[in-house]
């Protein structure tokens, strides 16, 4: 395969294992051995996991009190939940943009789509996000178990309704179909029997996992060729024992981190070692990032950024804050990816699904809207309350009103250009355009000096850097990583 310059290799790595890095970081990496860089990426610059929590249990009223609440009090709780989920979204986005451990956030974004879940309870959301971020690069078995026992997931997949007398199969089905094996790798009987094993998996009013003995079916079960008096933990172990589980997860990781089109041979190799490592996510990621084929030019710059990757990438390149941070939610909504609101249990389909005429044209306008304080001039579709009981009806009307008002509102961003501009200090004037394009794009494609200068503000060096950068970010190539 054609070899790439170390700088392009590192750009590729920075985008796939994170959300892009500024020129200084790329230059620093380019001077090091790959092994050293990959090791650093895997552990992060700082190894603690700063939480992105927006609330503590004490901020919400005691669950037991809720039944006795007046309608106004209930409304206040709901308002807190809605606001809390918004805050959680924004706080996580900020963490992604400024993170000292971007791979952990990128991996968490992956698991957030894999373990897709919707709940109107801010604390459940926060707890599940915590589990995902904590285990993002840890052991898949631990992650699977903790997610499966989280109140968010148990509630979302109706396991609260899964009892010995009336099994509810939703949870068991999704655990097999979406979390571990994929369709076609289990039978309807396996689902039914696994559902019996998960009976009694539940959570109490404080959001703690609780095994309810009386609801549990302790009869003999036949699952995937084994039989015994299984409980939920046993089922997860049986699923992890299947090589298909390693293959299913590896395929999904490959599609997210390498290429939309899975390569069977490579995936089989990766899955084999993933399985033998006992599902250590970090070692799987190391193997991918250390492989020669990962740097094959055909993969470089061939992934379409998700909306969150696009927005975070811009903010990571040029630090900024907003008068109203909530406008980030409007961007997410228009572009089709709102954190904590996956479209369905299967998560965001990704790839070319992100792109249609209107979403592409809006993507190309995003940098101009932000950097030139333009109005959005586009309205997202109305949203509807998700839980089906009508309890959030009025809240939804308020959110729709908010979205409508954003239409002609100018986006007020406070942009800190200094560190960005400083990154080009050593670059001579005639090499600036290429250098900017080279730092923002993984594949330079159409970015040539002549074209960029045609639209650049040539009045001074600073204006030149800014306008060229904004134009580069408005190119189709910038949608790719």
């Amino acid at each position: 395969m054609a070899s790439l310059s170390p700088q392009i290799q590192m750009q590729h790595l920075a985008w796939r294992a994170g959300f892009g890095e500024p020129l200084s970081v790329i230059n620093d990496w380019s001077d090091k051995r790959l092994k050293v860089v990959v090791n650093q990426i895997l552990i992060g610059r700082r190894n603690r996991t700063p939480d992105v929590n927006v609330m503590s249990d004490a901020d919400m009223p005691d669950f037991k009190k809720i039944k006795g609440m007046t309608p106004d009090e209930k409304k206040a709780v709901q308002q807190k939940n809605v606001q809390g989920i918004k805050d959680l979204n924004l706080s996580w986005m900020k963490e992604m943009a400024g993170s000292e451990h971007p791979l952990r956030e990128k991996m968490s974004l992956f698991w957030h789509g894999h373990f897709a879940c919707r709940t109107q309870d801010v604390l459940y959301n926060q707890q599940l996000l915590g589990v995902i971020r904590e285990n993002a690069l840890g052991n898949f078995g631990d992650l699977l178990t903790e997610v499966s026992k989280s109140p968010a997931m148990l509630q979302f997949l109706n396991n609260q309704q899964n009892r010995k007398q009336h099994p509810n199969e939703n949870f068991a089905r999704e655990v097999m179909e979406l979390f571990t094996l994929g369709r076609g790798n289990y039978t309807e009987t396996d689902v039914k029997e696994a559902a019996r094993a998960f009976t009694g998996w539940s959570f109490d009013e404080t959001g703690e996992f609780k095994f309810r003995d009386k609801l549990h079916d302790d009869g003999d079960k036949h699952i995937l060729g084994k039989h015994g008096n299984y409980n939920g933990d046993d089922v997860l172990k049986i699923l992890l024992d299947q090589r298909q589980c390693a293959k299913f997860i590896t395929t999904k990781i490959y599609r997210f981190f390498v290429d939309d089109n899975p390569d069977e041979v490579r995936i089989n190799q990766l899955a084999e070692s993933f399985y033998h490592s006992g599902y250590e996510i970090k070692s799987l990621m190391r193997e991918i990032f250390m492989s020669d084929w990962f740097y094959d030019p055909k993969y470089v710059g061939n992934k379409i950024k998700s909306p969150v990757e696009l927005l975070v990438g811009i903010r990571r390149a040029v630090p900024m804050t907003f008068d109203e941070e909530a406008t980030m939610l409007v961007f997410q909504r228009i572009l089709g990816q709102v954190l904590f609101y996956p479209p369905n249990v299967a998560g965001w389909p990704g790839g070319r699904n992100w792109i249609d005429s209107s979403s592409l044209m809006f993507r190309l306008r995003v940098p101009q809207i932000i950097f030139y304080s333009q109005a959005l001039n586009i309205q997202p579709k109305e949203i509807m309350p998700e839980m089906g009981d009508g309890g959030n009806y009025k809240m939804t009307l308020q959110i729709n009103d908010f979205l409508k008002k954003q239409y002609s509102k100018k986006i007020n961003a406070h942009i800190d250009w200094d560190p960005y501009i400083k990154g080009f200090e050593q670059v001579p004037r005639e090499a600036l355009a290429d250098s900017i394009a080279g730092s923002l794009l993984v594949v330079p494609g159409n970015a040539n000096k002549q074209l960029l200068e045609k639209y650049a503000d040539m009045s001074n060096r600073e204006a030149y850097i800014k306008t060229v950068s904004i134009d580069v970010m408005s190119m189709p190539e910038y949608q790719l990583c």
């Binding site: 089109n261 055909k298 710059g301 061939n302 992934k303 379409i304 228009i334 089709g336 479209p343 369905n344 249990v345 299967a346 389909p349 070319r352 699904n353 792109i355 249609d356 005429s357 209107s358 979403s359 592409l360 044209m361 190309l364 306008r365 001039n377 586009i378 309205q379 997202p380 579709k381 109305e382 509807m384 309350p385 998700e386 839980m387 089906g388 009981d389 009508g390 009806y393 009025k394 939804t396 729709n400 594949v443 494609g445 159409n446 040539n448 074209l451 045609k454 639209y455 134009d471 408005s474 190119m475 189709p476 190539e477 949608q479 790719l480």
Partner: protein, 400 residues
């Protein structure tokens, strides 16, 4: 020199000068011929939020209906009578006239097996035409585009009048185009920087996404200019109501009357999520719907296009049979659909109304799968291979 009579002059003149030089009055004479007849069009109006079908087509002789809805039931005297058993909501006066003209079909008890009561899930099912236990990432109109529009030079066969594109119009390789205003779309896409980029970009490698993006961008820009061009050829003289739906249907009418290649138009109206104080909200939305559709169908009739258009309405679910404590209704299951057009083969009330004696957990049972309606429209109206597009063989109905 030949003496050319006036008739001959008109013919030669219109051929020679084409659209470019033809005086306006001549264009007006020719209008009926501008769009060749037989160019079938489907207009889909999505009633977002789950419209209450029971208060749309009202079983006004049914005691169970009034018992379940002591406050919310529409009085027999208020409902506009369609048949001996069924009436239509009083705010849907325009629909009643369409019914009297033989241009309205009402399909009752439409739904799907194992109904889902969540908005987003049920809407997905209607958009993709999947079974309720399947998750598909492409929409039924998108797959129609995939099948019909391979290599189309102007990918404008399906347009959504909105700022963002619905799942229904997203195919695997082809996608519909969303716009609220052709002029604005043209303005945004007509950007010199983008045009310069297009001059150099793209290499025709369908596996590489950069080419996919350039292809999409180029199609958008050329579609925008094509739509803008066509859009200018006809401006309706009718006065459409000054509501969002009114404006959107006016845009659709202008496009239908121009010689554009669009087969499917998609527009949403809502929100019908009426958990609280349903009466007012539904009445207001119906009024808007009825007013806009009345002007729209009138416009089509005057221009001899009504025969070639079918309007279909749908909602992601109906509401529960019983009213709730807040003067509203909660999420239910089966629902009705309207079919409107000058060329309906079967009209009026197409099947029996809801069976309130035979509920399931307080909800209506469906007996027409909505995918049968899609299959019918795809095959009999749009001449497409419904089995391939819907990935199953659904029974065809006879309304077109």
């Amino acid at each position: 020199m030949h003496i050319i009579n006036r008739r001959r002059f008109l013919q030669v003149g219109s051929l020679a000068s084409a659209a470019m030089m033809m005086p306006k009055f001549l264009k007006a004479l020719e209008r009926g011929e501008l769009v060749p007849p037989g160019n079938k069009v489907l207009v889909i109006i999505q009633l977002s939020g789950g419209n209450d079908g029971l208060n749309t087509i009202i079983p006004y002789r049914n005691d169970i209906y009034y018992r379940s809805r002591p406050a919310l039931g529409i009085k027999r005297t208020d409902a506009l009578s369609l048949t001996d058993n069924l009436g239509i909501h009083p705010a849907l006066k325009g629909f009643k006239s369409l019914y009297d003209d033989g241009a309205l079909g009402v399909l009752n008890n439409v739904g799907y097996p194992n109904p889902d009561r969540s908005h987003f899930r049920s809407m997905d099912i209607w958009h993709t035409a999947s079974q309720s236990n399947e998750i598909w990432s492409d929409g039924w109109i998108g797959r129609y585009l995939d099948a019909q529009c391979k290599g189309c030079d102007k990918p404008t066969q399906a347009l959504e009048i909105d700022d963002t594109l619905s799942l229904a119009l997203k195919g695997d390789s082809a996608k519909g185009l969303a716009l609220t205003d052709p002029t604005r779309l043209f303005g945004t896409s007509n950007n010199p920087f983008f045009k310069d980029l297009l001059q150099h970009g793209g290499h025709d490698d369908e596996h590489h996404n950069v080419d996919y993006l350039y292809k999409t961008m180029s199609e958008t820009i050329s579609s925008a200019s094509y739509i803008q061009q066509q859009f200018k050829t006809y401006q309706s003289k009718e006065s459409y109501p000054n509501t969002e739906l009114g404006k959107n249907l006016r845009t659709i009418a202008n496009l239908i009357m121009s010689d554009i290649n669009t087969k499917v138009y998609y527009v949403s109206h809502g929100s019908f999520d009426t958990h609280v104080n349903q009466q007012q909200q539904q009445e207001r939305l119906f009024q808007q719907l009825s007013d806009a559709v009345t002007v729209f169908t009138g416009d089509l009739k005057k221009n001899n296009r009504f025969q070639d258009v079918v309007v279909m309405t749908f909602s992601e679910f109906g509401r529960r049979v019983s009213q709730n404590a807040s003067g509203g209704t909660d999420h239910g299951t089966a629902n009705n659909m309207f079919l409107i057009g000058g060329g309906l083969q079967e009209k009026g009330v197409l099947n029996d109304g809801p069976d309130l004696m035979n509920l399931m957990d307080g909800d209506l049972r469906y007996n027409v799968d909505f995918k049968s309606v899609y299959a019918t429209l795809l095959s009999r109206w749009l001449g497409a291979d419904d089995k391939a597009i819907l990935k199953a063989d659904y029974q065809h109905l006879n309304f077109v």
